[in-house]
């Protein structure tokens, strides 16, 4: 290819990449615009600046309750799925055992399974066993779909571990537990934090499973879903969405920072691809 033509192609691709980013960010950019917009109708033209919709949120008991529920669900989910994910990721990275690929593949299955299938399957079992739906049933479902993400993040952390360090620690007289506590854990800690943040974020935003498996306690997305029907509630939902947007961006930047730190600490080149 002549250099001139090649350059032209890259220019076109750059324009395309720009337009694609506009497409990706179109809904995200609208969120703060309408959150600070004076009009109660979610449409252009914008009418004026107001922070009223944010103040409306403060005195909303149902919202406060759903935030509390969601935090409880997301924190529990993050802790348990990271713990279970760490077991699997360590087993996959450090040991060889029969059926390994199949076992890991099976645990990663929820990544491609439609969420409605996971939700319906759990619902049927809970109905049959006579369990009543509660936040705990939502947590059970969330752990299932968060484990694969946790394993994906922690696998790279555990794979980057130098086995010589472990052996050196044994040679120096450390026990299994001591080696874990003093050598392995500090090295994978950034990966663990990254996993906690990502699974927390996923659980906080998950709707379909929460919608099927929650009893009378609504999580935040279930609450948002119930409010989308009322046009008068929409501006304050936009304000709520803006707060959530800012929070998740902060969490993600933190997660990415910890992930890169984990890679650096192990002397591995920072792999692109981040969260997935």
């Amino acid at each position: 290819m002549r250099p001139g033509r090649a350059k032209k192609l890259w220019n076109w691709l750059a324009v395309y990449a720009f337009l694609y980013m506009v497409f990706l960010y179109a809904p995200v950019i609208l969120l703060p615009l309408f959150a600070f917009n004076e009009s109660t109708i979610i449409a252009f033209p914008l009418s004026g600046f107001t922070t009223e919709w944010f103040t409306v949120l403060v005195n909303n008991d149902a919202l406060a309750q759903s935030v509390e529920n969601s935090l409880f669900v997301a924190i529990t989910t993050a802790l348990v799925s990271t713990l279970l994910g760490a077991c699997a990721a360590r087993a996959a990275a450090r040991y060889r055992f029969p059926g390994q690929k199949g076992v890991i593949g099976f645990i990663m299955l929820p990544l491609v399974l439609p969420e409605i299938i996971v939700a319906v399957a759990l619902l049927v079992v809970l109905m049959q066993l006579g369990f009543s739906l509660s936040l705990w049933t939502v947590i059970a479902g969330h752990i299932l779909i968060c484990m694969p993400y946790s394993i994906a993040i922690l696998s790279s952390a555990f794979q980057g571990l130098d086995r010589n360090l472990e052996e050196a620690s044994f040679d120096l007289g450390e026990t299994n537990w001591g080696t874990f506590k003093r050598v392995i854990f500090p090295l994978v800690l950034p990966g663990v934090i990254s996993s906690l943040l990502i699974t927390f974020t996923i659980s906080l935003d998950e709707f379909i499973i929460a919608f099927f498996l929650t009893g009378t306690d609504a999580t935040l997305p279930v609450y948002i879903w119930s409010q989308l029907r009322f046009p008068s509630k929409l501006p304050s939902i936009m304000a709520l969405g803006t707060i959530l947007l800012v929070l998740s961006i902060i969490l993600l930047i933190l997660a990415e920072w910890f992930r890169q730190r984990s890679a650096k600490r192990q002397g591995v080149e920072v792999a692109a691809g981040g969260f997935i």
Partner: protein
Amino acid sequence: MILNREARQGLTLISPTLVYALLLLAAPLLTVVTFSFWTQDYLDIDTTITLNNYREAWTQPIYRTLIFRSLWVSLVVTLVTVILAFPIAYYLSFHVTRRKALWLFLITIPFWTSYLLRVFLWKVILGYNGVLNSALTGLGIIDEPLTFLLYNVNAVVITLAHAWAPFAILPIFVALEKIDRSLLEAAEDLGDGAVRRFFRVTLPLAMPGVIASTLIVLIPTVGDFVTPRLVGGTDGLMISNMIQIQFGKANNAPLGAALAVSSMVIVSSISLVIFLVGKKFGGRVQ
């Protein structure tokens, strides 16, 4: 079977995770399949094995229409998403040299914002008085707002193509990154033009990534019910909306289970075909 020490340690370590997945995924999935052969008898479940639910699911026009529409929508969404994603992955892999991680980060950010609100905001963009229509009328491109944008299958396709974009980009990007650049030089040295080189070297080598993105987008989109419900109108409803109704208002969980199992079986078979065709296509050229 006698396992060596390493295998035993590995299995012990993974057992909590595996047991969790067996209890909360394998057992429930098996229960759903069993359930689909039972019948709802007002408030009780009749556990006599019967194929009635499947007969109903496969013969009633409404269920058939919904299943076929879901498959059709998912296939279109997958095609659109993957075709739109490929140039981005290509651009990132072959042209962006610095700050690749930042680009990938920027691509994933919209995906981490509230799913419900993203779908809802597409409604705002595509609506009769929406962003797109007011922009186009404001610019004088159209006189009347376009009505084919919202409350139909188009809206579902646009919204889902947006929601699944990062899932399509990342696998293709990873596959492109793995391509040994000297192969491309070799093709050029041997006289291949840019187009020929792309179709004979780059694309076949990127095929595993393309197949992975196709499957990652195709399978979950069949099960989405938020998007059809919010932007699909009545003509855009999909099978998941019906599954949800059966488990909720209609109170016929066994029929809902049969619908869920049916759509999963169909989409898995389609995925398998895509996987095998892709493997063959990628394999033959190598």
